[in-house]
Symmetry: C2
Subunit: 384 residues, 2 copies
């Protein structure tokens, strides 16, 4: 199987935009192509991620639209959708196109636009990623499910609302250092703890925002990438699912798909959690970051809250998590998130992350979760 590298990355400003999502992608893609210093005509395929374009923009079949807007109307293109893990899934499939020898250079990414519709409509469209027959109908959508996860974690391990709040404070502190972040403003522990409950024990500042934005990556085969000193290599990438039904999950304090995807990615990479220097993970809610740091093997089960409280996951800590600001502060344009996380890790491993640089980072990991913990992707990256 051929090795694959990321040779170019691009991310739009995250926040509110007055352009369609395919245009947001085209902006990010143009950046990624320039960053890769490659002729656009070298791109052989487009892997495009989007989740709610049918609902919010009356636009399905977005692959050829994005390719057309980018001036590459004839390349093969497919739209991928895996809830919030959409463009991480697209990335993993794109790896296989290169690994199989079908192509040498592939463009991957995604975009989402949701701030053009009322908040209740956006909330509803996001909820379609949960299970429609038994769960949406009784209101068991994402905040409710992650509140159940938080409660299970609190009861089993003594995790506190204050520890969760530390995740939000840390990610906002990181977001200040990221010019692309939706929120570039520090918040206090008190702000989080005094914010309104959304789904007890989760409060407004435990939740990531709605966001418009796009992100893109240029992937290349070893033959193309080895001449490029800024190439960052994909060391491993694994996907795992879990039952779609919340009532079938046996222990809500764990996300088993994270554990299985991580095991596969570490095995492929020949790495362990101790080898990882920098992480971008799926903090859709603060509790999600805590559970993910445990499931990825960085901290013992039950100690993810302590890690946040002690600052171990802050820039300058033992293992900086979400230096970009994460979904919480950078924002969460769902179809773009997986690719944006990878763009951040590539930037970190190149040593180009500026004020938020994790010094000496050699190995990075991205983790993206979709739906009610039913999809997880984990990928590992390294230099040289």
């Amino acid at each position: 199987m051929r090795r694959v590298a990321v040779i170019g990355v691009g991310v739009t400003k995250f926040g509110k935009h007055d352009r369609i999502s395919a245009e947001l992608f085209a902006e990010a893609a143009a950046q990624a192509i320039r960053d890769a210093d490659i002729a656009p005509s070298a791109i052989e395929a487009l892997y495009y991620g989007n989740v709610t374009g049918g609902e919010g923009e009356r636009q399905l079949h977005m692959g050829p639209l994005a390719a057309t807007l980018l001036g590459l109307p004839t390349i093969p293109t497919t739209r991928f959708e895996n809830a919030c893990a959409t463009s991480h899934a697209a990335f993993r499939h794109a790896l296989m196109e290169i690994a199989s020898g079908v192509s040498d250079v592939v463009l991957v990414g995604g975009a989402e636009r949701v701030l053009n519709v009322p908040t209740d409509a956006a909330t509803e469209y996001f909820a379609y990623c949960s299970e429609a027959t038994y769960e949406q109908s009784v209101g068991l959508t994402f905040p409710g499910v992650f509140a159940l996860i938080a409660r299970a974690h609190m009861e089993k391990y003594g995790t506190t609302e204050e520890q969760m709040a530390h995740v939000a404070v840390k990610n906002h502190r990181h977001g200040v250092l990221n010019p692309k972040a939706q929120f570039q403003k520090e918040i206090s522990l008190e702000t989080v703890l005094k914010s309104a409950y959304v789904a007890d024990p989760l409060k407004l500042f435990d939740c990531c925002p709605f966001t418009d934005g796009g992100a893109a990556l240029v992937l290349a085969s070893e033959e193309v990438a080895r001449k490029r000193p800024r190439a960052v290599w994909v060391l491993g990438s694994e996907a795992a699912s879990d039952t779609m039904f919340v009532h079938e999950k046996r222990d809500l304090s764990r996300i088993t798909a994270t554990e299985r995807a991580a095991a596969g990615a570490y095995r492929q990479a020949g790495k362990t959690p101790a080898d990882v220097d920098v992480v971008e993970l799926h903090d859709c809610f603060t509790i999600a970051e805590i559970v993910a740091t445990e499931g990825l093997g960085f901290f013992e089960p039950g100690t993810g809250g302590l890690a946040a409280e002690k600052g171990w996951t802050s820039l300058g800590g033992k293992l900086p998590v979400n230096p970009s600001g994460g979904l919480k502060a950078k924002g969460h344009p769902i179809g773009a998130t997986g690719a944006a996380q990878i763009a951040e890790i590539v930037t970190q491993l190149r040593g180009e992350a500026g004020l938020r640089q994790v010094e000496g980072a050699r190995t990075g990991l991205t983790h993206t979760l979709g739906g009610n913990t039913a999809t997880v992707l984990v990928s590992l990256f390294g230099r040289g």
Copy 2:
């Protein structure tokens, strides 16, 4: 690159169903797994196609739902969407998973349910596969675009409404022989010609119906497939796009994405159009079949209408096209269509197609078109 074979196929009855689309897929998948005579636990990934589930069933993130319903809740799964070419695209990506060595056995397919919503809602959701900013807004959706294609073909080549009607009559005649078809009833040329205009020159009986249904395929690596005498080999598979904007297409009498995808698939397979014994192609409208038979190289440009009129594309003719009844009579559950076409060709090449068997068929081709001619996939299949 490793060779890939189809070792199992399954298709639900096409028509109206009172189950969610993921359940329709599970029915087809269970058939395909039994047909493959393989343990369900051997399946390493699910490639799932669906187009309008968000709109019509409030259900995105359908991959893990389908995997859960199938009793395989932990395998990696992704939803693919490429308008009407959705599950053909999923199939091509699944080939790369096996070709790259990531997996040996992969389940692919799709499902759609649209007859649960009013016809005007289904019409609107399908229209989201056309371009939202400039085209949907002025009413230029699929019947209109294919009417423009028909008019261009009539003006350039003298193709007639009667020739188009022959396509409908032939596909309904074939559909009678397919117990899974939505329509199993012959129609007369007069019925087609006297039906109401939908978009001049296309009449009601020039158009395929709305359909619920599911289709599934089990794909396997050479190592797994070579012991199985009923395996059908994938000889080539190519995708191509064209501009999303109808106003940018230079010659509406041709579908250039078909021509480019076909060229790639023939090259990979080392075959020419003359080698093909049986075809399933995308007859969303009768004119689409005529243009496709030209673009795939079976008939000279401008003679596809004559081929239909002369019966060259009928069962028993020079090159039987759509022995299943095609989208026109078998039905068009959009997320399932590409996989269903492949299931038919596999059945034909195995010699298991019963009353609609194309005698001695050794090489088959499938062609699926998405949106306003912006996506096309072509694949070639053979025995041994």
